[in-house]
């Protein structure tokens, strides 16, 4: 007996066409550019693997990749525990619950370039509240001149913008825990830490993995916010991969090297996404 119907595949044809135009054709074009050189006017010259060789051996790429991993690592070790901490302390009933949910959602509704602009002004020592206050307190702070200050600004900005996503996901995970678990823990005389370690954390694991994956991918592809605040500076100290790529492709109009850069960047993201996806689905299978 035939148990499935192939006609259902026709339903995905519109999506396939859409993805072909929005992703596959541009990707093919990037691959074509990555093995050629151009000076515009649709004239291309074969370059072979030259651009890939240049990119994988380029100190500039290694530095940007290192900065990217550092940025992603820092925001993950701050945002995930902080998001969980906030979720654990958010009100679960009464008027405080909707208020907390709305407040937590607000940063997520602000567009990236607006967030960048807010923090760019906020950090200025002449008109910005943060920069001015730090100056009054006698703390030297200048994100346009000092590397540490620039990094601190973009990290705090990302934490401000995205911790609420982790908190809301963790909160949703906490809300799904039946009260019977807490009652059983109370009867057993479990400590607050034991409740967190053996009930809340395991029950939040799936949503935390999603939060981790989302924050990892987003932070690895971040462009607008740090670009608006620091423009990649001072020097190249906050030039992350995407900022460097745009400088190369649009600033310098080096389409061949930029295409090779994009493909290496894409492969790294693809590999890490696959690793996380595999880990997540396997944990889910083990839980079942």
């Amino acid at each position: 007996m035939k148990t499935w119907n192939n006609k259902a595949w026709f339903m995905v044809v519109p999506v396939v066409i859409l993805v072909a135009f929005s992703a596959v054709i541009p990707l093919m074009t990037v691959v074509n550019y990555s093995v050629q050189d151009t000076f515009g006017n649709n004239q291309f010259f074969w370059a072979g693997l030259e651009w890939f060789n240049e990119i994988v051996n380029s100190e500039r790429f290694h530095d940007a990749l290192g900065r990217q991993f550092l940025f992603t690592f820092l925001i993950l070790i701050i945002e995930i525990p902080l998001g969980v901490y906030i979720a654990l302390h958010m009100p679960t009933k009464g008027w405080g619950r909707p208020v907390a949910l709305v407040l937590m959602s607000l940063p997520l509704l602000i567009p990236w370039n607006v967030v960048g602009t807010i923090w760019q002004i906020f950090g200025r020592s002449d008109i910005g509240l943060l920069g001015y206050t730090l100056q009054l307190l006698g703390i030297e702070y200048n994100y346009t001149q000092n590397t540490f200050d620039a990094w601190a600004t973009i990290i705090v900005m990302d934490v401000w913008h995205w911790t609420s996503l982790v908190a809301l996901l963790a909160y949703a995970g906490l809300q799904s825990i039946p009260q019977a678990y807490y009652q059983a823990a109370r009867i057993d005389g479990a400590s607050r830490w034991a409740v967190f370690r053996y009930i809340q954390l395991p029950k939040m694991r799936s949503v935390l993995l999603i939060a981790f994956l989302l924050r990892f991918m987003d932070s690895f592809m971040i462009y607008t916010e740090p670009f608006v605040v620091t423009g990649g500076g001072p020097g190249n100290s906050t030039t992350l991969l995407s900022i460097d790529l745009v400088k190369m492709a649009i600033g310098q109009f080096d389409l061949g090297p930029a295409a090779a850069f994009s493909l290496v960047y894409f492969l790294i993201i693809l590999l890490l996404s696959w690793v996380f996806y595999t880990v997540m689905t396997n944990i889910d299978k083990q839980e079942r």
Partner: protein, 94 residues
């Protein structure tokens, strides 16, 4: 209608590359429709179908080539041989 595709900057090498991937996908579709895949547990400790193993082979091959460029530079003929051996190993053991 004159469809100008020069902006895509096709070369026979890149056309061959995409043709090879498309052919592999078609072979995979035909293979799995004739013989529905049964996920198997390999040395990575994860269940994989032939489609997963093709993906792991292609992704791994890309990194083998990038690694070869980083350590030895072009040409990549030996890296290509390593990619084929790697893909065979993935289909056999992963």
């Amino acid at each position: 209608m004159d469809l100008d595709m020069s902006w895509m900057a096709w070369t026979w090498q890149t056309a061959f590359f995409f043709g090879a991937i498309a052919t592999a996908l078609v072979i995979m579709i035909v293979w799995t429709s004739l013989k529905p895949p049964v996920p198997t547990l390999g040395i990575l400790g994860i269940e994989t179908t032939p489609g997963d193993r093709l993906f792991i082979s292609l992704l791994g091959s890309a990194f083998i080539c990038l690694g070869a460029l980083f350590f030895f530079g072009p040409p990549l003929w030996w890296a290509l041989v390593a990619c084929v051996l790697y893909a065979l190993a993935v289909f056999r053991w992963v």
